[in-house]
Subunit: 232 residues, 2 copies
C-alpha cells in the first residue's frame, strides 16, 4: 500500500486506474496520480445512487485534469439495497452520528476496487488509486488503512499478473490527511473544486449543506484561506 505519494515521478507510460466519484477527494487523487506521471484511466460507477449528478461531475473533472480514458461502469447495487444512498431511506441531516452511518453501502469499496482491479489487469495497469481518507471514514470500515492493505494482498493472490510477480499497488494518498489538507493539496495541483460534487442528497444539482458530506466539506472550505466554496 502506498499511503502518501512519496514515490518519485514515473515515466509517462505507466498506467494507473483511478476511482473517480465526482467528489473532492477523488478529484484530488486524480490530480495526485497525474502529478506523479501516471497515464490515468478513470473509472466511475453508476450504482443506483440517488444523485446522478455525481457522474456529470466525474466527467467534468476527468476532462479538466486529463485522463487517457474514462469509463462509466453500470452496476445496480439498488438491486439489493441496504443503504440510504441506494434505497428509499432518509439521508441524515442532523450532524454526525455515532457508529457506521446509514449512508454506508454494503461492500461498496470492495466492489469498486474489484472492478478497478479487473480493468487494470486487462489494460496492463498495476497501480490503483482510491480516495479514501480518515475524515471521510465517518465509521466506514472500508475506508481504513488495514482494509486497503488487505485488498492489495488479495489483488496479488487473485490475478494472473499478481501470481506472476507483476504486483499491484493500491494507492490511498489521502488516507491520513484531513479535509483541509486534501483541499490544500488539490489547490496546489490546480484542482478546480467548483467542478466537484460531494453532497449525499443534492436537489437539482445543488448541495443540501446539511448531510455529513456537506458538513465536512463546508467546514473544510471555511477553514482554507483564499478558496471560495463554489461546488456542491
Amino acid at each position: 500500500m502506498q499511503i502518501l505519494e512519496t514515490r518519485a515521478p514515473l515515466k509517462m507510460s505507466s498506467k494507473a486506474v483511478v476511482l473517480l466519484s465526482g467528489g473532492l477527494d477523488s478529484a484530488t487523487v486524480l490530480a495526485i496520480a497525474r502529478s506523479q506521471g501516471f497515464d490515468c484511466h478513470a473509472l466511475s460507477f453508476e450504482y443506483g445512487q440517488r444523485h446522478e449528478s455525481e457522474i456529470h461531475a466525474a466527467k467534468r473533472i476527468a476532462e479538466s485534469i486529463g485522463v487517457t480514458e474514462h469509463l462509466v461502469h453500470t452496476i445496480d447495487l439498488s438491486q439489493w439495497g441496504g443503504s440510504a444512498l441506494t434505497d428509499d431511506i432518509e439521508v441524515p441531516k442532523d450532524g454526525e452520528s455515532d457508529g457506521i452511518p446509514v449512508t454506508y453501502v454494503p461492500a461498496r469499496n470492495t466492489i469498486f476496487l474489484s472492478h478497478a482491479l479487473g480493468y487494470a489487469e486487462a489494460i496492463g495497469a498495476r497501480d490503483l488509486f482510491i480516495g479514501v481518507n480518515a475524515v471521510d471514514y465517518s465509521g466506514y470500515p472500508d475506508c481504513r488503512g488495514e482494509y486497503i492493505e488487505a485488498f492489495q494482498a488479495l489483488a496479488n493472490l487473485a490475478t494472473k499478473a499478481g501470481v506472476e510477480g507483476d504486483a499491484f499497488t493500491v494507492h490511498a494518498p489521502l488516507l491520513e490527511l484531513s479535509k483541509v489538507e486534501i483541499i490544500q493539496k488539490g489547490v496546489a495541483l490546480g484542482v478546480d473544486y467548483s467542478m466537484t460534487q460531494s453532497c449525499y442528497d443534492p436537489s437539482n444539482g445543488e448541495p443540501c449543506h446539511q448531510c455529513d458530506a456537506c458538513r465536512l466539506r463546508d467546514a473544510a472550505f471555511a477553514e482554507v484561506d483564499g478558496v471560495t466554496h463554489q461546488g456542491s
Copy 2:
C-alpha cells in the same frame, strides 16, 4: 473458510448467498448449501460472456433445487475485456495448455464475491458459497484455497457486519474434490445435471465437447457409472 461441508445442518432460517453460474460445479454447491439447511439466495451474473445460455441454465437449476430468491446481476466486463470469454479471442480447443489459460477473466471471482458480499450483508446473510475447485482451477489464481481465505479475511474487514463481529464465512465445498467426486456428490443430492451448462463456447445451446470445460466434464461423466451425460 469452510472447505468441506463438515458443519451440522443449520436452522432453516440461516440465509446464504450462493454464486450460481449454470455450470455443474455451482449447481452442486447450491444442492450442498440446501442440504445443510440454508435459505439460499442465488446470484448469477450477466457479465458480457459469450454464452447467455449459462443464465438460462442457472434459472432452471435455481428453480429445480429451490431458492428463496435468484438475482441476475448485470455487469459488463466486456467494457475492458482481457479474456476469451468476454472478448473476440478464440476459445482454445486443443486440450489443456500450460499456465493460466486465455479463458481467465481478470479478477472475475473477486468481482463476483464482492457483489455476493454486498448482497449478503444487505439481506442479513453471513454465508457465501462459491464452486471453485482444484480441477476447474486449470491455473486460475482465484480458484485457490489461499485466495478464498484472503477474501474471507477481507470480507470481515470491509463490512459493517464483519467489524461488528458478525463474521462472514466463505464456503468452497468443492475446493479439494475431483470432478468425479463432485458429480457423485451432486447425484447423491439429486442434482439433475442435464440442466447444467459448462461449455465455454456453446453453439445454439449445444456443447462443443472440445474446450477445456467440456473436456473436463466429459471425462468425468465417462468415469462416473450410471450417470448419463445429457447436459452441455
